[in-house]
Symmetry: C2
Subunit: 130 residues, 2 copies
DNA sequence: TTATATGCAAAGTGTTTGCATAGCA
DNA sequence: TGCTATGCAAACACTTTGCATATAA
């Protein structure tokens, strides 16, 4: 993996985020610094970095992939109606079993994500009305 | 939600699965019983049933949504290289915090999924070679 | 009877890819 | 120098949607 300005700007932009931006959110922010960068380059770099374990590619619903600068444990709540994704409080995180207990295969475990799903506050309210 | 033959066949087909088929896998199996059903109908019904909490829509990576007949707790392993999704042994499941502890919002929690990610056995092996 | 569901096909959305050029190592 | 990354645009894969018709309640 070669070091290019595009790649480092993408990573820097991503690291300023506390949430999980989509590729085109990243693209538009990166373009403020590199106006000629292409969306394809953004996708290619995000993909490579997530394969390298530098960042995390999340598939949280809503049709768009999201990217996380800190590949650490996370808990999210996803609404099955409107696809909204909300972060859950840190202290919700539970102690997961030792990764090695996954089984005795040769998988390399980089991390995990925990996702709750259901109706968000807004959709739950609208549901009551029907 | 009206009961139609299409809907019940879709649900029946899904319930024969122990894995998490994609919409077009379901479509092709349903078509053996209802040759004139359309893909759009399959999508519409899967969406409705997942909104109703009857089934679970999973976004596990690989670009395709997957559907699960039993909206119960699940643990998966996803390869960040090849996007393969593997089921993890049942006994891996951990005791999650009481859903009510999520916070004191008015969210309705239907369930949760736990996902590990990393390199699957095959991709881990190929990675060693490089 | 009438509102919801269907089949069909077209449109949409997000993502990937081929190719010629640029630029890192 | 040689090989990887880029920009551009076209192609792709999956999903959603408009519309006229069919059908459950």
């Amino acid at each position: 993996m070669r070091n290019t300005e595009q790649k480092s700007v993408i990573l820097e932009v991503l690291q300023t985020h506390k949430d999980h931006p989509t590729a085109d959110q990243i693209y538009s922010e990166v373009r403020e610094r590199l106006p000629r960068i292409s969306l394809g380059t953004v996708y290619r770099n995000l993909e490579k970095m997530s394969q390298a374990g530098v960042i995390l590619k999340l598939e949280l619903g809503g049709g768009q992939k999201r990217f996380d600068p800190t590949p650490s444990d996370h808990a999210h709540f996803r609404c099955v109606i409107c696809s909204a994704v909300e972060d859950l409080p840190e202290d919700l995180r539970i102690d997961l079993p030792e990764l090695s207990t996954l089984d005795n295969s040769k998988r390399v475990v980089l991390g995990n994500t925990l996702e709750y799903y259901g109706y968000c506050e807004k959709c739950a309210a609208e549901r009551q009305l029907n």
